[in-house]
């Protein structure tokens, strides 16, 4: 059973300037990271340079990145910067602790820019110590509706840095495998199986034992051939990886009443793990009051890392610590105390994420 294992740690010492390994001509990455830890914004030109450099780095990553335990896996953050810092305080600072983030860094919370700036700088500084998977909110379309775009325009007076970041999002990897036994993705891997059949050419389809009838391809290798350097589409394998949800009441895939998308059931998970010789699926994407949820006889878990989501849900959050023996431990935490400092702003902001903070509409009609 998960239990609270709170281990507060101080901020790491920032190494002296001459030790900086960054290749960026005029950007001192360690200084950027130090500023971001203090929640200071970076200059637009610095963001531009960092995003360009990170793109080059991410371009070399496969759609399926293989990593080794011990590693701490983090679910949705959604711009809750103080809670991200709380995660480092509890789980250890980068690079002393290895991190895998499962996506949804921006939107909803008040500090999407600070959050994504810090994570990108850490990725660039310690590329093998921190991994960032793409979530459904790392998209141009979604960030225009749910706050990140508005926050960029408000804090930088232009949409330029929104363009820098959303262009970078196109390069984020789609999945990570820990020690060949835990498959990690933002939403779920399975519907990929179906849609991949659709995306194959007709001739390729004929190689399938029963083309178009059964979702029969289960291999993770199929993820590797997706062309991921693009906006997340509404349909197809990429959409499925970042959007699908489990349904504990069902065995197979179920179509959504919305007219698009579907859920996956227990048998789908079982088959996927058996075909790929894996033990567990780890994903984020769904809010849970307890901060985590395990389903299907512990074959799948959801990790949620935004406590008191949207500053009003009152939920717990967790990070999942995976050890070298494959054991998994949910380290549960509540909202960082610093959130109280900006409570009033959050109150005003809550129905209008990313917007200009204003007075409460007391005299509503």
């Amino acid at each position: 059973m998960p239990r609270l294992r709170y281990r507060p740690r101080p901020l790491p010492d920032i190494p002296p300037k001459q030790l900086t390994k960054a290749n960026l001509a005029s950007v001192d990455l360690d200084e950027c990271i130090a500023r971001l830890y203090k929640k200071e914004l970076l200059a637009e030109s610095v963001i531009e340079a960092i995003c360009a450099k990170t793109k080059e780095l991410l371009m070399r990553e496969s759609n399926v990145v293989h990593v080794q335990a011990p590693i701490t896996v983090v679910g949705d953050i959604h711009g809750q910067f103080y809670d991200l810092i709380e995660i480092f305080r509890i789980g250890g600072w980068c690079p002393d602790t290895n991190y895998l983030f499962l996506g949804d860094y921006v939107d909803r919370g008040m500090f999407s820019i600070e959050t994504i700036s810090l994570l990108v700088c850490l990725k660039l500084r310690y590329p093998d110590r921190i991994h960032l998977i793409r979530g459904n909110h790392e998209s141009r379309g979604v960030t225009q509706s749910y706050g990140f775009y508005t926050e960029c325009v408000r804090k930088y007076n232009s949409a330029n840095i929104w363009h820098h970041f959303t262009d970078l999002f196109d390069y984020l990897t789609l999945s990570v495998v820990i020690d060949n036994r835990i498959f990690c993705v933002h939403g779920g891997p399975f519907s990929l199986v179906i849609s991949f059949v659709a995306s194959l050419s007709p001739s390729a389809n004929s190689y399938l034992p029963n083309p178009g009838l059964s979702p029969s391809i289960h291999s993770i290798d199929q993820i590797k051939v997706i062309d991921r350097y693009r906006e997340i589409p509404h349909e197809g394998p990429m959409a499925d990886l970042v959007w699908s949800d489990p349904d504990p009441e069902r065995d197979e895939f179920s179509l959504s009443p919305r007219g698009a998308g579907y859920t996956f059931g227990a048998q789908v998970v079982k088959k996927f793990l058996s075909v790929n010789n894996m033990e567990h699926i780890l994903r984020a994407h769904q809010l849970c009051q307890e901060g985590y949820q395990t389903l299907f006889d512990d074959q799948l878990s959801t990790v949620w890392s935004a406590p008191n989501y949207c500053y009003r849900c009152g939920n717990m959050a967790s990070v999942l610590e995976v050890d070298t023996d494959g054991s998994r431990f949910f380290n549960i935490f509540a909202a960082a105390p610093e959130n109280d400092q900006v409570k009033d702003m959050q109150m005003a902001d809550k129905m209008n994420p990313g917007g200009e903070p204003g007075a409460l509409p007391d005299y509503f009609l």
Binding site: I194, L213, G236, P257, R312, G314, P353, Y363, L365
Partner: protein, 273 residues
């Protein structure tokens, strides 16, 4: 030495004249209560479900009350999708076209229901002594001019009942707020739905209480319009594209732009004799 301050209570009450107002605000439900609610209602529960939250208004002499909570509101959501209310996301046709061949292997289909969680909830009424309850009264209206006055607000609160992001296709939210002044009070329970590139819907229940007359007026107003019309109207009102994006998240900015599709007024007099 000062003792530590007591933890903030989840329930607040205020009594004004013969009425008592109560609000309860608690975290979203845990997974077991969500499963139980799912079983009772027979439909999946929105991801942000404040199942313990409550706003209630009680007339103390007669025990008449009107309360707002999530479960009875969700109970009024169309659970079969049979009455023609079924909405589809903007790209549904595109989606099913590409899946036509491959989806045939999927045998299970989620039971249709109104996944936009549109509700016709106007609050839960408990009759008062002598069977007093709301009756239709189209001549009655809520005195907006009196409510526009900046009378001191003695008690106010806002309670979220449920909210869903509709898997990034918009927003669906039911919230209720209250403000109490010396002579009168107003409750607004608002259902707001924005289904991106499809439609915008606002369903308001306003409850007005005149403390001296001990009279309660309840007004129900349902408004909706196509998404493109709302966008066009916001543009016509002089907003720049960035401001339109913001406005589309704010029910206050769009509500008055939407044509009224349903309107109904009821009232009840609770004064004795």
């Amino acid at each position: 030495m000062h003792p530590p301050p007591p933890p903030p209570s989840s329930t607040r009450t205020h009594t004004q004249s013969t009425f008592r107002i109560l609000t309860t605000k608690l975290p979203i439900l845990k997974s077991d209560p969500i499963d139980a609610l799912h079983a009772r209602l027979g439909i999946p529960i929105p991801e942000m479900i404040f199942g313990d939250n409550l706003l209630s208004l009680t007339h103390l002499p007669t025990n008449w009350s009107l309360s707002f909570s999530a479960e009875p509101a969700l109970d009024l959501v169309d659970k079969t999708g049979s009455n023609g209310s079924m909405l589809r996301v903007a790209y549904a046709n595109e989606w099913s076209a590409t899946r036509e061949k491959t989806s045939s292997g999927i045998k299970e289909v989620v039971k249709p229901f109104d996944w936009s969680y549109s509700t016709t909830y106007k609050g839960t009424e408990v009759k008062g002594k002598g069977g007093k309850c709301f009756e239709k009264n189209e001549r009655e209206e809520i005195p907006l001019e009196l409510l526009k006055r900046r009378d001191p607000i003695l008690f106010h609160d806002e309670v979220v009942l449920y909210e869903s992001e509709l898997d990034d296709n918009g927003i669906s939210a039911l919230t209720v707020k209250v403000r109490v002044m010396e002579q009168r009070m107003l409750v607004l329970c608002r259902f707001f739905l924005r289904l991106d590139n499809v439609l915008v819907r606002v369903r308001d229940t306003r409850v007005y209480v005149d403390f001296e007359e001990e009279k309660v007026v309840r007004e129900w107003m349902s408004r909706e319009d196509k998404f493109e019309n709302v966008k066009k109207n916001l543009y016509m009102s002089g907003l720049m594209p960035d401001a339109i994006t913001v406005a589309l998240r704010d029910s206050n900015q769009v509500a008055n732009l939407l044509p009224v599709v349903e309107h109904e007024v009821e009232s009840v007099s609770l004064k004795s004799g």
